[in-house]
């Protein structure tokens, strides 16, 4: 393997490992779920991506076949990470909005910003073609809003 390739692979690995660690460190240390979501969705994704690229560089450089399979994983992660984050955020909004294991650090209990259209966020109101929500169903924690 050429020195350039080795340095490149090593750098990518160090970067990948570092980003992964930082992402997880963020998960561990940030104060609320919404802030914690940022760490893994970004840092970890890129960290994994870096490792994958390291792998992509490593195999051809070390005499193996050229491989783009790793790219596929990266694409897959880039495709799914926002959805996962969105779903976690929605679940969290829903529970916080209803005051289930409340964690005020996110500002959800204090009140989310209103939507410009007048309808609530989908998690609280559901489909556009649903009838208006029953007042009883309005999350108690958000009524003060």
């Amino acid at each position: 393997m050429s020195l350039v390739a080795e340095i490149l692979v090593a750098l990518l690995l160090v970067m990948g490992g570092g980003l992964i660690l930082i992402g997880s460190w963020g998960l561990a240390r940030l104060p609320s779920l919404m802030t914690r979501l940022h760490g893994p969705t970004k840092a970890s994704t890129l960290g994994v991506g870096a490792c994958l690229i390291a792998s992509m560089v490593y195999f051809p450089a070390s005499g193996g076949g050229w491989s783009a399979q790793e790219l596929l994983i990266t694409v897959f992660l880039l495709l799914t990470a926002p959805i996962s984050a969105n779903m976690i955020a929605k679940a969290h909004l829903h529970r916080q909005g209803h005051g289930i294991d409340p964690n005020p650090a996110d500002g959800i209990v204090r009140g989310l910003p209103r939507t410009p259209g007048g309808k609530d966020w989908a998690t609280f109101q559901g489909a556009a073609n649903d009838p208006a929500p029953d007042p009883e169903q309005v999350p108690p924690a958000r009524r003060s809003d």
Partner: protein, 163 residues
């Protein structure tokens, strides 16, 4: 006939490319098989695609992809820096609302995904009428500027890609 055989030509190409990436060998046989899979996989799953988004795979598309990839890398380092250095009480995390001009669910999803992957923002919800995104920002000094940046940098480009 072609329409029935290739209900989603772009998807077919995508699947074929993915197949090539998977099998990881560039031979005639592999390409032929990739084409077959590219036809078959969308065909058997076409029933799950009731609507077909119209996408222009032109320079706008490539430009958008390039910008997003760059932003992802940049965003990651930004976030990493914040995680490593910023004390919790100094975090200016807040909610942003991005009103949307995009109407197609596919386009909105792409925008939302982009927002999540790029600096310090996570798309948390969409409004029930689909006209606004709820975004959580990790550390934002000026919310209006951030919303404007998102709309200008991503949404306007997406408006050109999705017709």
């Amino acid at each position: 006939m072609i329409r029935r055989l290739l209900p989603h030509p772009a998807l077919s190409v995508l699947v074929a490319v993915v197949w090539m990436l998977l099998v990881n060998e560039f031979t005639v046989g592999a390409v032929l098989l990739a084409l077959v899979v590219g036809v078959v996989a969308p065909l058997v799953t076409s029933r799950f695609w009731p609507d077909r988004p119209k996408i222009r795979f032109g320079p706008d598309f490539l430009g958008y992809v390039g910008i997003v990839l760059w932003d992802i890398v940049e965003a990651n380092f930004q976030v990493a820096w914040i995680i490593l250095t910023r004390r919790n009480r100094d975090l200016r995390s807040r909610w942003l609302v991005v009103p949307l001009e995009l109407r197609s669910p596919e386009a909105i999803t792409v925008l939302a995904g982009t927002i999540s992957l790029t600096p310090g923002t996570v798309t948390s919800d969409v409004s029930a009428d689909g006209r606004a995104l709820l975004i959580h920002a990790l550390d934002v000094a000026d919310p209006e500027a951030e919303v404007a940046r998102i709309k200008q940098r991503y949404e306007t480009r997406l408006l050109k890609v999705f017709r």
